[in-house]
Amino acid sequence: MNREIVNAIALRRLALVVVLGMAWQAQARDAKAPYPSMAPIEQYLMDRNAEIALARSAAPDSISRDAEVMVLGRHGYETAVQGKNGFVCVVERGWMNLFDNPEFWSPKVRGPICFNPPAARTVLPITYLRTKLVLAGKSKAEIKERMKAAIEKKELPVLETGAMSYMMSKQSYLTDNPVTYDGAHNLAHLMFYTPLMDSAVWGANMPKSPVYLNPQFEGQPEPIDVFMVLTGTWSDGTPAPLS
């Protein structure tokens, strides 16, 4: 293994630690997985109005007030508010993490996110399908296999250019371990979706780069890379930690 490869691996690992993967890696060292299987469904559900408000908090009000809002029901996501601007806001659960993320089944995870129109058309279907399989009681391995099959059979739409989303909610809870210096369980950020590619094309995870590769899909199995840029402000306009 040459020096460049070693450096590349080291840099990538560093960036993952800096970003949301910090908690994940810390927990991966634990012998016992904290959330070995799905909790009772009630633990993943929320009060409908609270979920609408939380979903909308992912983006500034100027965007989310006209967005469609989805809430999680016992049989999947359902439309709670019709939208007018093509954005769709939703609160994702732990099963939208990588499959080997120890918080995959955490009932505490709440990831409010507002998708722009291309992402709503081509990324959100992944959320719907994974959620449908989860609520059907499938195991993690079964879900992964089914997602892989859906991609191979082209049951999921091809990612559109320009797909992106807002994750600027102060109230979101992405991981048990704090990820910022002040103990928050979230970072205010934007996410950009691309086909799988060399992350160096966006300069991601390079020292002092403001772009990070978010380890959400990475082809395992969804063929999408997710890049993050921290925004420095929450959706309500108050300052957010940048490190």
């Binding site: 983006a59 934007l190 160096a200 966006w202 002092k208 402000t233 959706s235």
Partner: protein, 237 residues
């Protein structure tokens, strides 16, 4: 049918008004802009080594040290440093500003960018073409028309998916009023994509610029640090 014809006429009239209006606007700008003409070429040129360093300062050193670096010579941009990672760093001049920008042709403006590979392939040709026109002494109106014709004839490419650049140089200079503005990333799309990033809405961290006549949408996202890792002033972020 009648409605379609009426609509077609209306759209045609609208398009004509837009085109004539844009040309008229460019001419009006010629009259009132503080920089109505090119300054002597020497005022746009820089010391070669200084320009290389300035170009590289657009991105963190981890990216720019392996990038190709272009510098402006008397006959256009030329390669000063060969690259290894597909990125290209360049200091753009004020003729790359929007045609209605009052700083257009300001000889003091220095805007370093490091373009990723898709942007190097599809944005740099615009930089080269515009620079060629400016250095040939074309008026703003002539440049506007030439750029429009080049896109109409598909002589200039539209942005590739994923085309973006870093503009994080602490030394960048836009104008006396804007100074070095803020560090940011820029993303480019064809206008025909009608991309919606929620830009320019209150509270959104995304700004948008619709260029004319370049059929390009540009999104800007401010970041918190300059390329050297130092914090940008929070009031600019």
């Amino acid at each position: 049918m009648i409605r379609n014809v009426t609509r077609t006429i209306a759209l045609g009239t609208f398009a004509l008004v837009v085109v004539l209006g844009a040309q008229g606007e460019a001419r009006a700008q010629d009259a009132r802009a503080p920089y109505p003409n090119m300054a002597p070429l020497d005022q746009y040129l820089a010391d070669r080594n200084s320009e290389i360093a300035l170009a590289r300062s657009a991105a963190p050193e981890s990216i720019s040290r392996d990038a190709e670096v272009l510098v402006l010579g008397r006959h256009g941009y030329e390669t000063a440093v060969k690259g290894k990672n597909g990125w290209v760093c360049v200091v753009e001049r004020s003729w790359m500003a929007p045609f209605d920008d009052p700083e257009f042709l300001n000889p003091d403006q220095r805007v370093p960018l490091c373009l990723n590979p898709p942007a190097a392939r599809t944005h740099l040709p615009l930089t080269f073409k515009t620079t060629e026109l400016a250095m040939a002494g074309q008026s703003k109106t002539q440049m506007f028309d030439s750029i429009k014709a080049a896109y109409d004839k598909k002589e200039l490419p539209l942005p590739e998916p994923g085309a973006m650049c870093y503009m994080m140089s602490k030394q960048q200079y836009f104008s006396r009023k804007a100074g070095n503005a803020d560090p940011h990333l820029m993303f480019w799309f064809p206008q025909k994509d009608r991309m919606n990033w929620g830009a320019d809405f209150p509270g959104s961290p995304v700004d948008v610029h619709q260029y004319s006549p370049q059929p390009i949408t540009e999104f800007d996202i401010s970041v918190s640090k300059w390329s050297d890792g130092t914090a940008a002033p929070t009031d600019q972020h």
